[in-house]
């Protein structure tokens, strides 16, 4: 059968739409595309609420089923999984409103705010690893910052996803350490304007091409980030003496000022007594 250009375009359009026959959802619009599938905004007729519907070519089995069971404030909750009449699989998820991290970062946020986002992402990742799930495709486009500052990690990977250039670890088989690499790349992406050598060192350690040089877990990465925020020495960087003194002075500024004042007073009293 001959198919003209216009008929081909029309057929591709109508056959791309998910067939929601027999489900409780009504299609509204497409809201995004990822390596795994297409996400649509839809209305849940039974509960009268809007949801995000992720439609996948791959069946939901194995690890994907685990993903559906993840419960964490940093992971978008999944309400339902199933198979559509056209054979495709779907997740119905909470519809999150906010900005994708690559858009969010364009605004002028402080270093501390950027590190807060990284920490939230790391916490979600550490939880998922504890449940035996790895992300496989962590990147700014898969992170959403809600209007009240909540951070969601989305698009949890299945085997078909092979990561994204710039965030993908060089190894051929992806595992937890590959997620650590992506988290480091994300830190680089978020704090590229930062002048802190300690943060740069943390990001460099996490994204080391040699897996043995990376943090052994997301928890190790987060602990080093905490040390930086508390003004302590970080594991990733053997700092020079002058920097250590500078950091000590910065952490103990009040004490040092008091000590200086005390010394000055003692000094003055010493001379006053002599004259």
């Amino acid at each position: 059968m001959d198919v003209s250009d216009s008929v081909l375009d029309h057929l591709r359009q109508v056959t791309a739409l998910p067939d929601l026959t027999g489900t409780r959802y009504e299609l509204e619009s497409e809201i995004g595309r990822g390596g795994m599938g297409v996400v649509y905004a839809a209305r849940d007729r039974e509960l009268d609420r809007r949801v995000a519907l992720k439609v996948l070519e791959v069946p939901i089995t194995g690890e994907a089923q685990l993903i559906a069971c993840l419960e964490h404030p940093g992971i978008v909750p999944i309400f339902e999984t199933g198979t559509l009449a056209d054979g495709r699989s779907f997740y119905a998820m909470k519809l999150v409103s906010g900005a994708r991290l690559d858009h969010y970062v364009a605004d002028n946020h402080t270093l501390s705010e950027r590190l807060r986002v990284i920490r939230r992402v790391g916490e979600a990742l550490a939880y998922a690893h504890s449940q035996g799930v790895i992300h496989r495709d962590l990147k700014p486009q898969n992170i959403m910052v809600g209007e009240f500052g909540e951070v969601y990690v989305m698009d949890w990977g299945v085997d078909a996803v092979a990561g994204t250039d710039g965030f993908r670890a060089p190894e051929s088989t992806l595992d937890r350490l590959s997620d650590v690499y992506a988290l480091g790349a994300l830190l680089k992406f978020l704090v590229s304007t930062s002048v802190s050598p300690a943060v740069t060192a943390i990001a460099e350690k996490a994204t080391s091409a040699d897996r043995r040089e990376r943090y052994g877990s997301v928890a190790g990465f987060l602990a080093d980030l905490d040390r930086f925020e508390q003004g302590l020495a970080v594991e990733a960087w053997s700092e020079p003496v002058w920097h250590r003194l500078q950091r000590f002075a910065s952490r103990n500024a009040v004490l040092l000022w008091l000590l200086a004042a005390y010394t000055l007073v003692k000094f003055l009293l010493f001379f006053l007594r002599r004259f």
């Binding site: 059968m1 198919v3 008929v7 081909l8 056959t15 067939d19 026959t21 791959v58 056209d86 078909a160």
Partner: protein
């Protein structure tokens, strides 16, 4: 440039010699599998050769036929490694290499003998790159073959009305009838028209999947190619 070949149109998708060609070649693939490959790829290869190497209709047909014959004789399709590329990319790169070699050989002959100048008007102005045209033609063939499957399925299972409604609404180039017009034409409620269209599209998608399944190496490549059909 002269018109495209009618091969791939309603009268047939590939040369009538195909079965004997496949059998003679002993390619290692079953006749049915090879049928599927040639049905899907003959026209994309032909269009790619025409655009990339600026061949006339007859020359492009000869090159395409030559490519498939050579591929079958050399067991080319059985050497495909899914770890390196999709089958679609493998075919496109192979035909590019084959046609470039043939093209260079022709040019060497011309340099040794009478030189033929090709008229500028004869050249087709490509609006898309040959690679994009190859992919587009691949999608067109895929839908075209799946539509044939759908029509045959409707005829065999007594669903001619469903196909007629689908044809009226989804396969028309001009203005589409509305759902209410279709409901009046076929004497049924609009909701039934809606259901018939949903069924036909769903079934068409299933036939596309089946066609792809027979020309891909496994689940992973199948899912990736399904994604590419609609990207």
């Amino acid at each position: 440039m002269d018109a495209d070949t009618a091969i791939g149109g309603p009268s047939g998708r590939f040369p009538s010699t195909r079965v004997s060609l496949i059998q003679a070649a002993g390619s290692g693939l079953s006749d049915a599998a090879m049928d599927q490959v040639i049905a899907l790829y003959w026209k994309p290869v032909y269009r790619f050769v025409r655009l990339k190497f600026q061949k006339s209709n007859e020359d492009a047909k000869d090159l395409t036929q030559g490519f498939f014959t050579s591929a079958l004789q050399r067991n080319f399709f059985t050497r495909f490694d899914p770890a390196k590329a999709s089958f679609r990319t493998y075919v496109r790169m192979a035909v590019e290499r084959y046609a470039a070699n043939q093209h260079a050989a022709e040019n060497r002959q011309k340099r040794g003998g009478a030189v033929e100048f090709e008229s500028v008007e004869d050249r087709e102005i490509a609006t898309e790159s040959p690679e994009l045209e190859f992919d587009r033609e691949w999608r067109r063939q895929l839908f075209s073959l799946a539509l044939d499957d759908l029509r045959a399925h409707c005829q065999q299972s007594g669903k001619q009305v469903q196909f007629a409604i689908f044809e009226d609404y989804d396969l028309t180039d001009g203005d589409r009838l509305s759902y209410s017009d279709l409901a009046a034409k076929y004497g049924m409620p609009e909701s039934t028209v809606n259901n018939h269209l949903a069924w036909a599209r769903r079934t068409l998608r299933a036939f596309i999947r089946e066609r792809l399944r027979s020309t891909t190496s496994g689940a992973r490549e199948l899912h990736e190619e399904m994604r590419r059909v609609w990207m």
